[in-house]
Point group: D2
């Protein structure tokens, strides 16, 4: 999957959606890069978001990976389309230790109706980095708001 530059309208659509996600604000997350078929999101590991061993909670890893994957899907879809995400699988590879997490979402298949996307989440700890999770989902184009109201978002 090559990563072409996106038209400004598509970039704005993704940026606007991201900005409306209070969760992303709460996490201190930022959109780092938007290309066609590839979106990168980064956030610090906040104290408020830790689990019982002091690492970032898996829900943070999930939030970043899910959003990066979803926006990578949106980046390859026709204008006006919405993504209907109904399931997500996450594999946790290592504790999310360090100062920062970064999720890269990418498109595996972009069909007329089905978009399969994945994400890799990396933790940065000083000058070290390591993969902490991989995610995968099959998203589906939502043709209209009726669909969105029926199904999960």
């Amino acid at each position: 999957m090559q990563h072409d530059p996106l038209p400004d309208a598509s970039r704005r659509k993704i940026g606007d959606s991201f900005a409306r996600q209070d969760m992303m604000v709460t996490l201190g997350a930022a959109l780092i890069s938007i290309e066609r078929g590839k979106v990168v999101i980064s956030s610090p590991i906040l104290d408020a978001m830790r689990q019982q061993h002091g690492f970032a909670h898996a829900a943070v890893t999930f939030a970043l990976g899910d959003s990066a994957a979803g926006y990578s899907a949106l980046s390859v879809m026709p204008e006006g389309a919405e993504v209907l995400t109904s399931e997500m699988k996450i594999n946790l590879l290592a504790p999310a230790a360090g100062e920062r997490l970064q999720a890269e979402g990418y498109v595996i298949k972009a069909g007329k109706r089905l978009v399969v996307v994945g994400a890799t989440v990396v933790a940065f700890d000083g000058d070290q980095s390591r993969d902490v999770a991989v995610l995968r989902t099959a998203g589906h184009h939502g043709a209209d708001r009726g669909v969105m109201q029926d199904g999960p978002l």
Copy 2:
């Protein structure tokens, strides 16, 4: 799977672990019920945790379901054991709309080494409620801390 009362030591172990999760505090989540093989966690839907359409972010649903499922696994394991969770599958059934989410974790299989658990997450909106997600994972007993440091938490 019948749900026997748990010895106090096991209840304390789960309660202590929950209390050390800053993420649960941040979500305003509370342990509502701890039985052998079944754990219930509830939280309000905070403004800070919403996605772009105003519903609770899927990461909140994930956080509650993941914790409820994990603690239900812990509730059937021998004293001193830790759970190694390495993957989770979530199916989103409906938007997480309303005032409150509640996750019920339950044990599907408790083997000598393998514990398979699931969770259902329900949203309460006024006097209405509906299922918003189901989760499932296979956890593995971690015999010692070396294992926990090798693998994901």
Copy 3:
């Protein structure tokens, strides 16, 4: 989910589809029960379908569970609709030992566009039985053949 009787046309649609699956014939599988939202498929464990330890190969368990789940989805959908299955998660609970496997597919959520289904697969060994797997998928209505040709089947 209650299980109403199905109109004969719907039962025939499922039966005809099942009969066209050479794989089901090869497995010696039979449709045991078709209700609205619940379909049961049973098969012997054939020698030709074993893995290296002499148990039924996980692919047999997958085949039965996947078909039972898919037909349970079809049983709640409008006439003329097709199911687009794009992902499946299987948890293996125990070795598939014995003479026979039986899969029960059931509907978890039946929305306007999204149908979430699951299946449980049980092994029968003499007068013993035990759960060997649980499956879950999110299927999507395929409105027309164009969709079916685009996506996976």
Copy 4:
């Protein structure tokens, strides 16, 4: 993950296990390549293994991908170790049409106890090929046969 040559003992262990899988014989499947962290399995699409639309049944795709992934895990594990596979996620990308399927299993993470592996399955149709599925699982080292008898295989 680099792919070093494997010692002959490890190659024999994988080859012997594969040969004992009656299912692989029934599918006409062959081990095409065994490297450290990467195993390739190929099979024709037999008439006996088709679904209702004439494509290879998803269970065939699953069987090949599952085996390729599992053997790739085995290829990075210490001598004498067994793999305990307890769950698998498959995403179907396109109908399995054509003459032949080929699955490549690869290691995503090889830890002291946890091994995360994936597989990609490709269909060959004349001089065309396309990805038909991706699989992912987290396997766990089984230290002894007691473990293997407790859990799924």
